[in-house]
Amino acid sequence: MESQSLILFFLIALVLVGGAIVFSTLVAPKSFNLVKSEPYECGIPSEGPAWIQFNVGYYLFAIIYLIFDVETVFLFPWAVVMKQIGLRAFIEIIIFFAVLGLGLLYAWKKGALKWV
């Protein structure tokens, strides 16, 4: 039952967006103009494409994020059973966080967290 309902919500969203866009294309005016369909650049003719290489800073943050996000995924099951397991879970999580904290500290000292 649960997975069917998820498909339902997916379909509602599809119908909502698709229906509105179809309706809009039917009623809205259409006129083609070469200058109008240029990407916006403050009114001057656009200079080259936007599909170029960009700052590596974004990439570094994405990589650090990946590590920490996987760690969050691992932590959630631990969080659920923490109450039942007790001391052993607590000691294990301290070791886990010590390793993780060292990783964060390393990235910090290496300057990966600095925006350049």
Binding site: Q4, L8, F9, F61, Y65, L104
Partner: protein, 362 residues
């Protein structure tokens, strides 16, 4: 006593029985799914329109203006008029854009926010899907929206769009960590990820009160991080109008633009509803210790009213952020997350684990 009076599961089960009276089992399921679908569609659209209206009114109050007051009583129909206007505006095609991804982006943004909404508990028994991993599910699905934003920025082939999308990507993925860790704080306390179980565990007091200071720290971290995650308030770098025109949706026009706008407001509602559910007891009424008389009066307010009161209180706080704080720079934004919020929430988790281990929470 009064909690049974307001239980929606009796209503839903009676609808189920009524439908079963004259239909085969398959058709009953189908009719119920269509009913749920229509209800959510209606709620989604009305909520989006109302939140846009609310934002304009709150902004007006903060800036000592009147706000929209011409269309309908107190300007209530203003956003509906805006929607109709957006529907009949031309959808301008961008010549050098990636057509397929350009059209796909609004779909992804709306799908992510609507699917996240499916798991929200509005009142007792009034929850479309009660996952046993509810908290995790909402986090996972709502963060899919960033894919739509990145696609929108990339596909438009405009420099403003791509800068906005890249900023937004870096920002959303960074702040997601703090959101996850602060929600985890309450998962440790209640020992469950199911939203209905988390609410049940707050029957004798909300976690923000029961969890001492660590729960309060988690709440504040959640508020800040989720404001950043939904691209709002002082963290709206992705659409900083003074530098990037409109950020990732610069090239979108008409109804496609409206969907990005709608998704932003619905995401704000989801975040506020999640905060209300996890930290402020969801639809549980406000009780003070052993004041029987006071508690009894509070029980008479329906749970759904409590839910919306708490949610709109948090929405008001998030709007307050937006209209009072100046926008951060991207380096300040990333410093705030990686050098302050993330270490704070990591230490906070250890602290909470210690509290739970010692049994020092109520």
């Amino acid at each position: 006593m009064s909690s049974n009076l307001y239980d929606f599961s009796t209503l839903t089960s009676s609808i189920h029985e009524w439908l079963s009276g004259f239909m085969s089992a398959g058709w009953v399921v189908f009719t119920e799914l269509v009913l749920i679908g229509l209800l959510f569609l209606l709620f989604f659209a009305l909520l989006g329109l109302f939140l846009v209206y609310l934002e304009r009114k709150v902004c007006a109050i903060m800036q000592n203006r009147v706000g929209p007051n011409r269309v309908g009583k107190w300007g209530l129909l203003q956003t509906i008029a805006d929607l109709i206007k957006l529907l009949i505006k031309e959808l301008i095609p961008i010549r050098k854009s990636d057509k397929f991804l350009f059209n796909l982006a609004p779909f992804i943004v709306i799908i992510a926010s609507l699917m996240a909404m499916a798991a929200l508990p509005f009142a007792k028994g009034l929850q479309a899907i009660d996952f046993n991993i509810g908290v995790f599910y909402i986090m996972a699905v709502s963060s899919l929206g960033v894919v739509g934003i990145l696609l929108a920025g990339w596909a438009s082939n405009s420099k403003y769009s791509i800068i906005g999308a890249m900023r937004s990507g870096a920002q959303i993925v960074s702040y997601e960590l703090s959101v996850g860790l602060s929600l985890m704080a309450i998962v440790i306390f209640s020992g469950s990820m199911q939203l209905s179980t988390i609410i049940e565990s707050q029957a004798n007091g909300w976690w923000i009160f029961k969890g001492h200071i660590p729960a309060f720290i988690a709440f504040v971290v959640f508020l800040v991080a989720s404001t950043a995650e939904i691209n709002r308030g002082p963290f709206d770098l992705a659409e900083a109008e003074s530098e990037l025109t409109a950020g990732f949706h610069t090239e979108y026009s008409g109804i496609k633009f409206a969907f990005f706008f709608l998704a932003e407001y619905i995401n704000m509602f989801i975040v506020a509803a999640l905060a209300a559910t996890i930290f402020l007891g969801g639809w549980m009424p406000f009780h003070i210790g052993s004041w029987e008389g006071f508690n009894h009066i509070m029980d008479f307010v329906p749970p759904i009213v409590w839910f919306f009161l708490k949610t709109f209180f948090i929405i008001y706080i998030i709007m307050w952020f937006k209209w009072t704080f100046p926008r951060l720079r991207i380096d300040q934004l990333l410093t705030l997350e990686w050098k302050y919020l993330l270490p704070i929430s990591l230490v906070n988790i250890v602290f909470i684990a210690f509290l739970v281990l010692m049994g020092w929470h109520f």
